[in-house]
Symmetry: D2
Subunit: 346 residues, 4 copies
Amino acid sequence: MKALVYNGPGRRAWQDRPRPELVDTTDAIVRIDAVTICGTDLHILKGDVPTVDPGRVLGHEAVGTVVETGTAVTGTKPGDRVLISCITSCGRCEYCRASVYGQCLGGGGWILGHRVDGVQAEFARVPFADTSTYPLPGNVTDEAALMLADILPTSYEVGALKGNVRPGDTVVIVGAGPIGLAAITAARLFTPSTIAVVEREPARLAATKAFGADVLVQPDDDPVAVVGELTGGLGADVVIEAVGVPETFELCAKLVRPGGHLANIGVHGKPATLHLEDLWIRDITITTGLVDTSSTPMLLKMLAVGKIDTAPFVTHRFGLDEMDEAYDVFARPQDSDALKVALFRR
Amino acid sequence: MKALVYNGPGRRAWQDRPRPELVDTTDAIVRIDAVTICGTDLHILKGDVPTVDPGRVLGHEAVGTVVETGTAVTGTKPGDRVLISCITSCGRCEYCRASVYGQCLGGGGWILGHRVDGVQAEFARVPFADTSTYPLPGNVTDEAALMLADILPTSYEVGALKGNVRPGDTVVIVGAGPIGLAAITAARLFTPSTIAVVEREPARLAATKAFGADVLVQPDDDPVAVVGELTGGLGADVVIEAVGVPETFELCAKLVRPGGHLANIGVHGKPATLHLEDLWIRDITITTGLVDTSSTPMLLKMLAVGKIDTAPFVTHRFGLDEMDEAYDVFARPQDSDALKVALFRR
Amino acid sequence: MKALVYNGPGRRAWQDRPRPELVDTTDAIVRIDAVTICGTDLHILKGDVPTVDPGRVLGHEAVGTVVETGTAVTGTKPGDRVLISCITSCGRCEYCRASVYGQCLGGGGWILGHRVDGVQAEFARVPFADTSTYPLPGNVTDEAALMLADILPTSYEVGALKGNVRPGDTVVIVGAGPIGLAAITAARLFTPSTIAVVEREPARLAATKAFGADVLVQPDDDPVAVVGELTGGLGADVVIEAVGVPETFELCAKLVRPGGHLANIGVHGKPATLHLEDLWIRDITITTGLVDTSSTPMLLKMLAVGKIDTAPFVTHRFGLDEMDEAYDVFARPQDSDALKVALFRR
Amino acid sequence: MKALVYNGPGRRAWQDRPRPELVDTTDAIVRIDAVTICGTDLHILKGDVPTVDPGRVLGHEAVGTVVETGTAVTGTKPGDRVLISCITSCGRCEYCRASVYGQCLGGGGWILGHRVDGVQAEFARVPFADTSTYPLPGNVTDEAALMLADILPTSYEVGALKGNVRPGDTVVIVGAGPIGLAAITAARLFTPSTIAVVEREPARLAATKAFGADVLVQPDDDPVAVVGELTGGLGADVVIEAVGVPETFELCAKLVRPGGHLANIGVHGKPATLHLEDLWIRDITITTGLVDTSSTPMLLKMLAVGKIDTAPFVTHRFGLDEMDEAYDVFARPQDSDALKVALFRR
């Protein structure tokens, strides 16, 4: 079969690989019907994620059809159409038993396209299939479901829930990439009074309107002043970091009101400065987190009844064998205006 | 009357001052029966708190007897024995109405001995007396009540509650000054399985045993390794910072398990480094806070029924007119082994 | 002035009364600009609320203009346009300090039109004005604000919050009177996947569509079966009782899933049967409650930014001197199709 | 092997039964080392639990040694000493994934000694062994661990957690059988200010002192008045029902303060009357529940470090082959003063 292989920093290839086979009794083999690319895949390709070995098949967001299952798998069977979650859950460790699958100690967590071969391929082996795949309701399209493999549960759990978004809140989201846009969608489930988005790229910033942003702010427009004006000088109830660099995190810490929440979603490569000399007295809550995907069944239900709209996320569609072109488009959003790209088996 | 006056950096005096008078209709004038000194008072004297003007009477932790009340005061009357809280609450602003008195927008918050004259004096004016004083049950001594003016509600609210201490938790407290010791008492209300304390001074560290610490750690003993051993390598459920310097905060961030809480109580004068490159994926919650004293009535009830023991906190007792000596003793704990000092009207 | 007076069971009159005067220093006198009638007022008129003495001016939901304030009032002043909340808060008792104003022990709670004269009058005395009135943003109309005097905070706090409505939930609301309709609006702030409403009156049931109900059920249509079908046989995540008779409460207990919430908003005059022989094992949470109106500032903000739509609530409008006619219309919803009626000073 | 078999109402026998064998790949066969009897077993024997078929081996609380495991079991192996929980968890259904194992939809829940053969036998088959057994720390005795098979997690989860016991609370526990006594232990983990116990049997009532009860009340002593006196007339913060008859439940509803919690643990066979005409306005939260045993690992840790004392629970000890005698003693607590009985393999 063909798969997208990381061959060391800067080197990727859509190349032949042996079709995966069952290894553990809890595995499933899934034929990939639709897959997408994550910003994290670009980080891996740059060599920023040293835990990924060369030779690794990338990808952790897919929809597929089960073709084979291990003897211990009871929750899914060949022919089932499933969402493959970015998070694998052993279902038995103390974290999994507490619904914190992202921190799985039993061999799961974020492993697909990271520590084991991923889903940017014609077929994939999914460990712990019973607790790591989700059956798809008939009326949910592959494309819509793809948005639930990572970005929507991440922005809901790590952004809206950890940030404690409440009705009436003023929410500021810093960064309008796919995860920032998903954070708008997620935050709106709690009906804030105002969602303000801070983003440098004018096209991305403008795009947030369609997702439901109320106030658009460019970093040069003094976000602290804008948010102060929105909130009687207090600051935002919730600030969501969706970029992953020190400057944006530090901006978030200036935007949050006394008693407010700063929820970090961004993937960071460097430390930030925490101004405790100002913050110690201000009742701030700062959270970080990897998604657990514990919200995936709820989000699937919302897709099925039409209460979440994923249409604006996917800007480009490809065949699976156009993987190279899809990566090129996704890697240059400033030129392509790409948000999420989707690749389909044809 | 006599009062302890801050006369600029390094200059304090127990000197004559006019006896305070009612200014607002919500004021009470209180005769001070017992008072204590806070580490913050030492910071002010060093000149570290620029919002304190020279000429200010210091002190924000006292017990006294009401001698006069403004026309709008209905909850207390001359002759009442009251606890004067370190936090003043206007009772009407949006923060006070949400029980977040520490962030009061209506003229309260931490103002005593800070923005208005404090309680290290023979008499004090207490603004918003109805919502900023607490009647004392008959069987609660002045000395015991003093521990509820600041350190116990602070360690309970900002430490145990914000840190989300739960039965069975492994709790690490970094720093064993009065606030760290109070954090042991506060955490024990939720019956952790293990309380470990990290403290450099051997005498202070040894003293934590009497408060209920289970494991004593010196900073040179590799606290990360010790806590790892206690927790199967995961880290602590809750880590409480009770020092206020970057090094201890950064140590705390290394001690907390994935999914755990880091509750900062320490008063910081400098920024710390936040290692988001490690923490972004670890589901950490970091909180800061000023006490609200919303727990004061509960803590008073616990004192009255004997479920909190404040006896080990007060190491030195003085007359009110020995204020200078009390400051000297409190400022040199390494020599005096002082924890809290208490001064009484005689 | 004129006022609507309860003159004993079955006897009401829009009659002359002395204009109210300041009694306590915390009072305000407010000229009533808009007022509405509550189902509770009808109960009082039937004689069902024995704590209301004959001679009482009724009414607890109004908007007005402050004309005079007591000497202790600092938060509002003559000329201010304010919402008069159905709940009066002393601001000082242990319940008020914990934001539970409905259970005020200091002379507040539900007193207007109940234990003291109410607001269905040309002028009203509002006790504890600082903590019992809310300034109105300029762009919020009197009519819209009226919906925040009782029904919207009640349905939000006692229905949606106590019922713990979460994104994706299946919510069933039993009863589609004004409070049931408001419960739809309140629940939608948390974006349930499905809102089903059970109501006997066909016109009322049909009206719920405009408020956002997804599924309409008549009591004869076997609500247990309908909800079972919606939820894979489990039952609803949240059931909200908005009628106040034993039959509807008992129906609610049959509709809730294991682990779900039953939030009672209805005002009950009789006991219900609680089938503990079925429920003891099912992890049910049942809540009751009087509104606190702690959510009023948030709801006002939502009105101001247009995120809550109150337009469909008011079906009939009158002048204040048409009080009798307004009562007649409101008391016969089956004929008049009245939901809420609004009366305005002209 | 020998097992305690329910042979229809009123008929039990310690009789020969075939030794259980593996059925599913997720099963374990466990040799029973210690076992106890539950009040529920007595109910079954009376014929009160129609879901139990004659021929069923009873018992759902045991400690044992694994002797054989199915091919899909990876978390335990022959030779392991394990706690067998009263709740079986499939680990995969939506309830199990949310840590609500008691409501398992995948074949678990309370099944041992109920829908499948139980543990009052020399050997038992434990379904879903990976997620339904708990490895025992070396220093935890069989007898201590037995108290964690049902009564301590039940009283902690269904009593203390659902009842929301908080430091400083006044907690009333109605009923001082084993589950009521365990509720004292569980509530104390949150350090209430006062624990009052209501119990008719003088010997049982007296026994509560050793568990930490502060106030002992007989039903004839007007518990409403006693609790009113303890709480300034307000009522208790938390009331825990630990009997299971309408009278005690209805008493609980009279004892709870406005805003308080009534947590039902009792197993009920009949409906109770819920006085909504009084309660609708009082902000009461009523909870019911079956234990999930999600707290079992935490409680085991507390046993291992000595922070929970189970010694006073076990009043009588037997050999496994003295099952009949043990039942006789346990069934007549008024004569035997039995709390929990323990039977050990010899």
